[in-house]
């Protein structure tokens, strides 16, 4: 596992394993606090991160070129609007979560499928979301914003 910190940026390389997700959350919390990200925004990023990592770990079937996932945190503190972004990079087969059309969920407990909420949560908790496939890597970027003093 590698951690490097350069001003507003931090990176973590972690194995794509269930046991590493909690470690990623701990890293995110610490790195965000050091850079002045408020608790609510950290929680929102943490939810997105957990769901993004779960998608990679549970749904790629091990068909990835590298066993590792790279996390890149970028915190931009402006004069009014601030932004914290996480980019999750993996070498699994291309998958654009933004292109997925979410099916309507049943509102009856007996009929509802228990899964499939991860993408909904990423879309709900991020203020900005983007995806690109670049040089063999999926790169999912999600951001939260806040106004100073609120």
């Amino acid at each position: 596992m590698t951690l490097s910190v350069l001003d507003s940026v931090a990176e973590l390389l972690l194995p794509a394993k269930e046991s590493e997700v909690r470690h990623a959350s701990t890293w995110l919390d610490s790195a965000c606090r050091e850079r002045g990200v408020p608790p609510e925004q950290i929680n929102r990023l943490d939810i997105c991160l957990n769901e993004a990592l779960a998608n990679i770990i549970f749904h790629t079937g091990g068909a990835c070129l590298s066993p590792n996932i790279r996390l890149h945190l970028d915190v931009q503190l402006g004069q009014s609007i601030n932004e914290a972004s996480i980019t999750v990079s993996d070498t699994c087969p291309p998958f654009d979560p933004l292109a997925v059309v979410l099916k309507p969920r049943s509102q009856i407990l007996a009929e509802v499928e228990p899964g499939g909420l991860g993408l909904t949560m990423i879309r709900t908790y991020s203020d900005k979301l983007s995806y690109r496939y670049n040089e063999g890597c999926n790169q999912l970027k999600f951001s939260t914003r806040w106004i100073e003093g609120r």
């Binding site: 046991s19 997700v21 969920r105 009856i108 407990l109 909420l117 949560m121 709900t124």
Partner: protein
Amino acid sequence: MPIDFEDETDNLRRISISERLDIQGTEEIATKFAALTASANRRVVLDLTNVTFLASIGIRAVITNAKALQQRGGKMVLFVGNNQAVTKTLETTGIDVLIPMFADAAEAEKAALA
């Protein structure tokens, strides 16, 4: 273990979950959670007031056990108190529509027994 229970009456059980319901936290409670909701005709108040983080895998566990309970003639309701983060997650994912959710403990118990 961050899961505990108390039997209020013969058929009303309060299950309390605390800390993080992420992948690791959900795996830690999964077996006991399923066992605590396994009885027939059991009414359950699931206390989530001390959950500090709720990921979709935790929601999946709640739905799975609520469905299983319902299939055995039981019922689950959620008690969230003033836990705003968990409340928001349950509302934005529509879980509060599937499983009744309450901020008040007495209302939750009343609904569970209704």
